[in-house]
Symmetry: C2
Subunit: 262 residues, 2 copies
């Protein structure tokens, strides 16, 4: 994975000018990257409440003021209409377009939500000596819908989605304590071991991403996943939702350690 170690401000500047439209893995290492969801004000209370009620899959790190595209809490001066490399526009729950600038879609009644992402805890895991097999293999992580329902809020309801990482058995406690320090990046695992216990039938066939790569002695460890709020938002078929394109995250000015609680 190529690394671009410039400050997030410089990288966002390049994204803003349309010079970079690729995925953000490897960009500004050490800084928090975030999932984006943009919704009309009419749906914002329910979405905010959904995040409050389901903090593991929906760790909300920023909510803009209504009509403002500036995430003043995590990246003052940034513009969420232009500073994400690629966006998806959904109407009535259907993907209608993929664009690199949402200025033409922006309205005075839109609110942007930024949610913590797994990049932060994967960094913490690797830093603690826990191998990330999918990263080593250049693959995507494996994800499934589970049999665990999120607590509904207004129009938003649906199952929790999890990502799975194979972890050497002797490192499972370390993987728990390291990620528990980051509740704003999904926190501790929600399940360890038997996939059937959370409604996953076949570990070889993920619903999203690539199958996990297991080595002898690895245990499947499941974390709540940021796909949850997106899936839940789209399932309610709101007239307009804008998200980042998969892997094309918003890069904040927050160092990863800013999200650790201990």
């Amino acid at each position: 994975m190529p690394i671009d170690a410039r400050h997030p401000k410089e990288i966002r500047e390049e994204i803003r000018r349309g010079k970079y439209t690729g995925v953000t893995a490897g960009l500004a290492p050490g800084y928090v990257q975030a999932n984006l969801a943009v919704l009309p004000q009419e749906h914002a209370y329910d979405f905010l409440l959904f995040c409050q009620r389901n903090p593991r899959p929906c760790p909300l790190i920023e909510v803009t003021d209504v009509g403002s595209p500036e995430p003043t809490g995590v990246a003052p001066g940034a513009d969420l209409r232009t500073d994400v490399p690629k966006y998806r526009i959904y109407r009535d729950g259907e993907l209608v377009e993929e664009v690199t600038d949402i200025t033409p879609y922006w309205r005075d009644d839109l609110i942007a939500f930024l949610l913590g992402c797994s990049f932060t805890f994967e960094w913490a895991l690797m830093d603690a000596g826990v191998p990330m097999r999918h990263i080593d293999a250049g693959r995507n992580v494996a994800m499934w819908r589970t049999s665990r329902a999120c607590r509904p809020a207004g129009r938003f309801r649906g199952p929790m989605v999890v990502s799975m990482r194979p972890v050497p058995a002797e490192l499972v406690p370390k993987a728990v304590t390291v990620t528990a320090r980051f509740p704003m990046a999904h926190g501790a695992p929600v399940h360890i071991g038997d996939p059937a216990a959370i409604g996953i039938r076949d570990l070889d066939r993920p619903e999203w991403g690539d199958p996990g790569i297991f080595q002898a002695g690895d245990v499947p460890v499941f974390w709540a996943c940021g796909v949850t709020p997106q899936a839940v938002a789209l399932a309610s078929k709101p007239p307009l939702v804008i998200t980042h394109s998969p892997g094309h995250m918003f890069i904040t000015d927050l160092p990863n350690h800013a999200l650790s609680v201990i």
Copy 2:
């Protein structure tokens, strides 16, 4: 302090029937007690956003559905109109009445917010061997407004309020790590040492509560305080706000450890 170790359900039942109207310190030890704020739906989005933006002073553990007095997430079956020993009714920011039942005030557009409280982290501190000098002396904790502004949200804005506890210097690191585990009960201290650094002029004259009791070698340690959201809500002078009366908290079914992240 007398201890009543029955389950929260039994104690709430007695409070509901009007048999108990006192403070809740010492009731159902081991269970999370919570601050209550009831607001009309019109103000709920701003308040929810204020809590999201200021999680240290405003750790939101429950938000009821609009019009529902049942906190299904933390105490299914409970009724927030009757299950708090004493309530305060504020109109346009002014205290107008103190009652033991808010059923006559309840409306279809009201939403109840429950916020974590310092009882949880004081329990964790004592359990870790950190003395709570104000509890030993049967006093209230000392509180001040600080020079640190909360991040505003809509109509809600104001300074962060802190509580201060004298901690023996050698136990300060322990006091930090123990409380950091409980972000939903204000988390780690926001400041240690020099009161002037956060705008507190006179450590002997708190704005609320009683002066702290220092022993030789004690250091003042400051935590974000649940008075913050109440002060902020009242400062905006909404037509109606209902809160618990000081010390008369709502007792949830959550064991204290349910709030620990690690």
